[in-house]
């Protein structure tokens, strides 16, 4: 994995993060919002190789920790996304079955987004943060999953195309 691709992908993730923070967050979704950023990061992690999953999990998490509305300790999302990257890296062969079919990939991304949010809540609780009631958190995660399922078909082709463009000619 070249340094140029790490740089380019990080810039791409930061741009998606900026879109999430300035535009998507403006929309007052019922129950909870939709995180385009988490979904994009999951897509990137699922398409990367083992090392890429770990590296971009960590970088993607650090970018999420920059959120101005975040009240969690800096590094919590980095920890969650590194763990997610690890899960992706050890299950690379199984995940390959999903990435080949767009509909399966959308379902997989929705499930993985929900799982990352769940891990975030669990780690937050372990760190002694006030995360709210179980019912609220479940409904927030469920709503995020639902919105990801509904909205991701619009963004998925764009994300995959951009990600392909970020690969160096040798990696292609």
């Amino acid at each position: 994995m070249s340094r140029l691709r790490v740089f380019n992908t990080s810039i791409f993730l930061f741009i998606v993060f900026a879109i999430q923070e300035t535009m998507i967050s403006r929309i007052n979704f019922p129950i909870n919002g939709f995180s385009l950023y988490i979904a994009t990061l999951i897509v990137v992690l699922s398409l990367e190789d083992r090392t890429g999953s770990l590296v971009f999990g960590f970088i993607g998490g650090i970018i999420m920790d920059l959120s101005i509305t975040a009240d969690s300790p800096f590094g919590q999302w980095a920890l969650v996304m590194t763990l997610m990257g690890y899960l992706f890296s050890i299950n690379k062969e199984s995940i390959g079955d999903y990435t080949d079919a767009p509909i399966a990939l959308i379902g997989f991304v929705s499930f993985a987004s929900a799982f990352s949010l769940l891990v975030f809540v669990i780690i937050g609780t372990l760190l002694g943060e006030q995360m709210g009631g179980i019912y609220r958190n479940i409904s927030l995660i469920f709503a995020n999953t639902l919105w990801t399922l509904l909205i991701m078909p619009l963004f998925l082709p764009v994300i995959i195309r951009v990600r392909k463009a970020l690969l160096t000619s040798r990696e292609k």
């Binding site: 999430q20 923070e21 967050s25 939709f34 999990g57 998490g61 509305t69 969690s72 709210g132």
Partner: protein
């Protein structure tokens, strides 16, 4: 994968996990690593947020409008009359008129309470991935805003300023699960603690064991020491259900907020507390009911 590659991956994993835990430990031990970086991100994002706020204002509230459709149907007739009035006055920007009305009501509330305020526009809502109920407003330290200032809307309390950059501030909404504040029941003067629940209902826990909560009781902010983070007298909410639990030492109740947090576009940050506690004077007075007594006059009976 080759054995060497596997070892490298494992080493990388350990390195990244340790780095994450290192950042978390620093943050939890009070080293404000993220504060300045998040502040810089806020300074960069706030002009973009303000721009998108202007463009997407009607779109942003579409979901809230769907949720309030039941209530809206009752107001259709009234709104139609208002629209006609606005059209007759050739005011095209209805969104702007709504915001002006909100601002007028906020300034009215602030004036009655003696609060010195800075008006602000909501330019963003909290990110869905943070599990926090927040909004971002378009005023910051350059307008005299600092942390732990009370934020009000035309209905009453909205939240508290959590972080400030030069041109924007993040407000922790009162429905966040971590939000707790001292309140006073208007009239009986019993005090309690109000906690956010993440949704539209709040939990009131009375501190006074002999106190009593009644349905419809109005709550006002008790005020904090030095009026930070809460100035006294701001309307907070209304009791909608009293929980009866024999084993509990004090009474609990469910409360709805005075301010509609789903529909806030304009807010005001209280930068200076009033000289005197307004007590219960900011509680909206109920509309007086007119009672008409009719005494029937006896019908004259035709004489034979």
């Amino acid at each position: 994968m080759a054995r060497g590659g596997g070892n490298r991956s494992r080493l990388l994993l350990v390195l990244l996990l340790v780095s994450s835990l290192f950042f978390i430990t620093l943050d939890l031990r009070g080293v404000n690593l993220a504060g300045s970086i998040r502040g810089s991100v806020a300074s960069v994002f706030s002009p973009v947020e303000a721009l998108f706020s202007r463009v997407f204002s009607p779109i942003g509230n579409f979901a809230g409008d769907i949720r309030n459709i039941g209530q809206a149907s009752e107001k259709i007739e009234k709104l139609n009359k208002e629209i006609e009035l606005l059209k007759s006055k050739e005011i095209l920007d209805e969104d702007m008129v709504g915001q002006l009305n909100q601002l007028k009501n906020i300034l009215d509330l602030a004036g009655r309470g003696g609060y010195k305020v800075v008006a602000a526009k909501v330019i963003n809502r909290g990110s869905s991935a943070t599990f926090k109920e927040t909004i971002t407003i378009d005023v910051g330290s350059s307008s005299g805003i600092s942390r732990n200032m009370t934020v009000i809307s035309d209905g009453g309390l909205v939240g508290v300023v959590k972080s400030v950059s030069s041109e924007s501030s993040v407000v922790l909404l009162m429905n966040d699960p971590s939000f707790k504040m001292g309140v006073r029941i208007a009239g009986s003067q019993s005090i309690g603690v109000l906690s956010g629940q993440g949704g539209n209902s709040y939990l009131l826990q009375l501190l006074d064991a002999a106190g009593e909560i009644k349905l419809g009781d109005k709550l006002v902010a008790r005020g904090s020491d030095g009026s930070r983070p809460f100035v006294p007298g701001v309307p907070v909410g209304t009791v909608v259900e009293v929980q009866s639990n024999a084993s509990s030492i004090t009474q609990n109740a469910d409360v709805i907020a005075s301010a509609n947090l789903d529909r806030i576009g304009i807010v005001a940050v209280v930068v200076s507390a009033p000289k005197f506690d307004p007590r219960d004077s900011l509680i909206p007075k109920p509309n007086p009911t007119v009672t008409v007594y009719v005494t029937p006059t006896p019908t004259p009976t035709p004489s034979n």
